[in-house]
Amino acid sequence: MNLADNLEDLRARFEDALKNSAGASSLDAVRVAFLGRSGEVTAVRRSIGKLPPAERPAAGQRINEAVEQMERALNEAQANAQALEVGASLSQRIDVTFPSIKPQQGSIHPMKRVMHDVCAYFERHGFAVVVGPEIEPDYYNFDALNIPPDHPAREGFDSFFLTPNLLLRPHTSPMQIRTMQQHRPPVAVVVPGTCYRRDAVDARHLFQFNQCEGLLIDEGVHMGHLKGMLTGMCREIFGSEQQVRFRPSYFPFTEPSAEVDTTCPLCRGAGGECRMCGGSGWIELGGAGMVHPNVLRNVEYDPDVYSGWAFGFGVERMALVRYDVDDIRRFFENDHAFLEQLA
């Protein structure tokens, strides 16, 4: 066969292939088969070498023309095919309301979320977050916190003992002492962590719970700073309108001491028949106060130079209020519906 016949035959087969191809991907196959590196055109091109040298340029010219034609046809066919495919896609109509395919979704426990939010708030204001052991000697739990043996307040911390002087901490306050022993003022920390008390379990009480402790010590720190930070914290956790109220109270490690209340987020302080606050309009968060001078002395801080405050709030209790949960035990039951709803 001469070159012309070859090319004619090639073109015929190319057109057949083009006609029989369906869609962009089979057009690609046609392109490879005819125009690819080891395609048919290459074979024809090689045959030029057998021609007398004088005929070669013209033959090359003819081949190039054929290639151009084929490419044009291919491009055109490809454009048509793509248009068809896009058209087909555009005409699709699905039921977008059909239930989604669920991802494997994880979540943070709601109590821990509150804990992280409290810590994040204080971190933003320059506090560090420190954690400590849950087994503590009575020195850190009591003595160093101005609760000597025989102090009536020890009864308020009905604790689980492992040995006569080693116990599961009933509060996170031991970390106040550990932190102050290791650092000189300024000290600004929050301490999240698990605590234990021998409380009979009911809808409001657990024998194991989590606390968030806060401690700020420096020159010139006063109770107004405590109220300011706690108001900000409550707004972060419960909503932007929260107010904070202090009531006098007694803790051996703070003086003056306060019980901290915040506006009931459910009734917004209106009280009445509110089931969350029992009608008082206030929710009790926990204790706070100015660190007792004896505690400062115990860590060799001069109470005439440094002052500071501390607070300790129950995290489950805050979560109970934030998520309007009816029973505090749910935070340890890990019921699927509970975790999913509050994820």
């Binding site: 994880g106 426990h109 087994i135 025989d150 009536p152 492992l162 024998f207 006063h222 107004g224 100015m290």
Partner: protein
């Protein structure tokens, strides 16, 4: 403490609304747990039985003519048997409203009854604490007096919580003083001057042998008459939650509730030589308390004894032997002060508490002994007893030490300034003496009854309380820079966020559990921890042991789900090391999954768990490649467990939970888990960017036949090093065992990716690398290419 508002009003002017009083108390630091409202009762008056006779038509009824002051006497029939002519009783007149009924004109067996004689129950008083039948009043109560108004029976009772530092406020006068100072109105105390008899009368002798008795006021009363207390006292005691007993016991309780000072009365006739000795109890000394409970004492208990026997457990309860009875005519009054801790220890040891001990154990002020004695003497004298000279034993009363501080400290702690006159006035209302010194210094002497005020911060709290805590402003402090690090917490938080992102739900479980966890481990044929950490005083057996792992609670959680679920927990675990209880923070994640139909040498659920583990470790450490070694670990499947090593150190265990545990923990589904001791993780190593080569790479998929027990990771590593510097990745992606390969062999499909740093790699070069590498593997492991 139950505080009847009607009683409290004796001492201080108060708002009518009980809620307003409660609010005030709360803002003073005495939260009110409950406001017990009293039922509205009207139309009950005092009546005197002028005549009493039999009902004409009924044997069981009596008919009285009752003098009710103004107007005609009333004719009233009653079935009660405790009535007699001359008595002053409670009468509900026609129209009277009682808690359970309204009195109407009615006929009783044909006789018109113009009202009803009523009992304590109808006045909403605990009937078992009052006379059986019709309520009796004192003769002095004028007929016609409105009973509800006179006894303030409609006034609410507040349940007030009193913090342990304020034992002085465990009394009506104490609370009244707070309310008076806060409102800036006068406190009306009862007459506390001592009506002691002249010298020369009988005196008690007290020998104090223990330093734990600081003061003991003793006084003899003669011509004591017993019998019931007047109605007003019985009603007040009942509303305050104290059962009325008799005139003497009631006076001691009344004075305690009023002043906080507990008292004890001894029948002087039972005390030889009227000599009392405060001493340690003797080992094994028997003591029968007046409630008839019997105790065997030891020297830790403090007793007040006669010359022959213990007559009172100090601060707790008297002995039956010298208890006052209806026959008592002469008593010794004890108003004493004891060491609080000593009383608390004894109460704890003997396992009982009384109203008296709950005050003594909080360390009362010694000065209150005189107050209590004086008030009791007043009431005893009113009741007709003859007081004799009181004698005080023990330490003399000393004035409280003055406290000096700078006025500027008020602002330094509270954040706001108070003018000196206001400070003085506020403290004065509470009984403090205030004296300004030069240099802005205040000298403050706390009142004798306040044992809780020992430093300037205590005084400043008093100022703040009286000024009102709402005066404290809200300020955001400018926190100065410090060097305290948050590393451990941030690692825990990052672990939680990472695991949540990997699709695990966080759970929080109890750290304490019962022996049943160990039973399940034992029933699985495994060993529970040899020396678990045990709580010495658990509330229940379910809380006896501290968890050694987060695994059991996790497996329990997933078993309860009963369908495929994924969860994680981060928390402390506890273990003994050299008999020292230690703890560390663990992260534990796990999922349950339906078993898959896979050959026994392959478990894709394991590979999923391992993938999550690697993703977690990557996020926590910054490393991207981890080595795993097959190993056995307690709680995990012996053939499906890998330990992940980093720098030769074990940082994670990942595998299937031991199927025997799956069975004893009753999980329908197999569980795959990973545990990480967070402190073993190296600090996060920030990855450094290497620009990827722009030159094309090539790959070869090799089917390598090797021994079935040759770990893929070893083959990968060998291939990587044999392939040399051009090798950029080696990864096994399929495994085959079966008829296509010889027995004991497997075929591993491994993709080897090759790239030259400076030029495009040619096919020939790639083939050469493969050939060299495969022959190296052949030499090392006998590996052949599968064809």
């Amino acid at each position: 403490m139950r505080v009847p508002l009607g009683w409290l009003r004796d001492y201080v002017e108060l708002p009518a609304d009980p809620a307003a009083v409660a609010e005030m108390l709360a803002l003073l630091g005495f939260p009110v747990a409950a406001i017990e409202m009293r039922p509205a009762i009207t139309g009950v008056i005092a009546g005197r039985i002028a005549e009493l006779g039999k009902h004409p038509n009924a044997d069981r009824l009596q008919v009285g003519r009752i003098d009710v002051g103004d107007g005609a006497p009333l004719t009233i029939a009653t079935a009660a048997t405790n009535v007699a002519a001359g008595q002053t009783i409670a009468v509900a007149t026609i129209g009277a409203r009682l808690p359970k009924l309204t009195i109407e004109r009615r006929k009783m067996r044909g006789l018109e009854s113009e009202g009803m004689m009523i009992s304590a129950d109808e006045l909403a008083l605990p009937e078992e604490w009052f006379e059986d039948g019709i309520m009796q009043f004192d003769e002095s109560l004028q007929p016609g007096t409105d009973v509800v108004e006179y006894f303030r029976l409609s006034e609410a009772v507040l349940d007030v919580e009193i913090t342990s530092n304020r034992v002085d406020a465990m009394s009506l006068i104490g609370l009244a003083r707070e309310l008076a100072a806060y409102q800036n109105v006068p406190l009306r105390t009862p007459d506390l001057s001592h009506p002691g008899g002249g010298a020369g009368g009988p005196k008690a002798e007290v020998t104090i042998e223990s330093p734990d008795c600081r003061r003991f006021v003793a006084q003899i009363f003669t011509r004591v008459e017993s019998g019931p207390s007047p109605a007003w006292m019985r009603i007040r005691l009942a509303l305050a939650g104290q059962r009325p007993i008799n005139r003497l016991v009631d006076i001691s309780n009344y004075v305690m509730l009023e002043t906080a000072q507990p008292l004890h009365f001894y029948d002087a006739g039972k005390i030889p030589n009227k000599h009392l000795i405060v001493r340690d109890a003797r080992e094994g000394e028997r003591f029968v308390a007046l409630d008839s409970s019997e105790h065997e004492l030891n020297p830790q208990a403090l007793v007040i004894a006669s010359e022959t026997s213990a007559e009172c457990l100090a601060g707790l309860m008297g002995a039956r032997n010298s208890e006052v009875t209806d026959q008592t005519t002469e008593i010794i009054l004890e108003s004493a002060n004891f060491s609080g801790p000593r009383i608390r220890r004894t109460a704890g040891q003997l396992g009982f508490r009384t109203e008296a001990s709950s005050r003594h154990e909080k360390s009362l002020a010694p000065a209150l002994t005189a107050v209590g004695a004086a008030r009791a003497a007043q009431l005893l004298a009113q009741a007709g007893a003859t007081p004799h000279e009181p004698v005080a034993f023990g330490e003399p009363l000393s004035a409280a030490a003055p406290i000096e501080f700078k006025i500027s400290d008020v602002k330094r702690l509270l954040g706001y300034e108070l003018p000196l006159p206001e400070i003085s006035e506020r403290l004065d209302g509470l009984g403090f003496k205030v004296e300004p010194l030069t240099g802005g210094v205040l000298r403050v002497v706390p009142p004798a009854w306040r044992t809780d005020i020992t430093c300037s911060a205590d005084v400043i709290e008093e100022i703040a309380r009286m000024a009102g805590y709402d005066r404290i402003s809200s300020e955001i402090p400018a926190v100065r820079a410090h060097d305290i690090a948050s590393g451990d917490y941030r690692r825990e938080r990052k672990a939680a966020v990472t695991l949540a992102a990997l699709g695990y739900r966080e759970i929080v479980t109890y750290s304490l559990h019962g022996a049943q966890v160990y039973d399940k481990i034992r029933r699985a044929g495994l060993d529970p921890p040899a020396r678990p950490i045990e709580v010495q005083n658990p509330l229940s057996e379910e809380q006896r042991y501290l968890r050694h792992s987060l695994g059991p609670a996790m497996v329990t959680h997933l078993a309860n789900a009963n369908q495929p679920a994924r969860a994680f927990e981060i928390g402390h675990i506890f273990y003994n090391e050299d008999r020292q209880p230690l703890e560390t923070s663990m992260a534990f994640f796990a999922f349950s999954a339906e078993p898959r139909d896979e050959p026994e040498w392959h478990d894709s659920n394991y590979l999923r768990a391992k993938g999550d583990c690697e993703a977690f470790l990557r996020e926590m450490t910054g490393e991207s490649r981890f080595e795993t070694a097959a190993d056995e670990r307690e709680g995990f499947h012996p053939g499906k467990t890998g330990v992940v090593l980093m720098g030769g150190r074990e940082i994670a265990v990942v595998g299937q939970v031991d199927p025997r545990l799956q069975r004893t923990f009753e999980s329908r589904l197999p569980i795959y888990a990973c545990r990480i001791i967070l402190s073993t993780l190296p600090p996060y190593d920030v990855p450094q960017f290497k620009p990827p080569s722009k030159l094309p790479s090539t790959y070869r998929d090799l089917a390598l036949v090797c021994d079935a027990d040759l770990p893929a990771q070893r083959l990968e590593n060998a291939l990587r090093s044999a392939a040399g510097a051009w090798c950029t990745a080696v990864i096994a992606f399929d495994e085959y065992r079966g008829s296509q390969v010889p027995p004991g062999k497997k075929s591993l499909a491994i993709r080897l990716t090759l790239q030259k740093p400076d030029a495009t790699i040619t096919d020939a070069e790639a083939d050469a690398v493969v050939e060299k590498a495969v022959s190296a593997l052949h030499a090392e492991f006998g590996v052949t290419l599968r064809v």
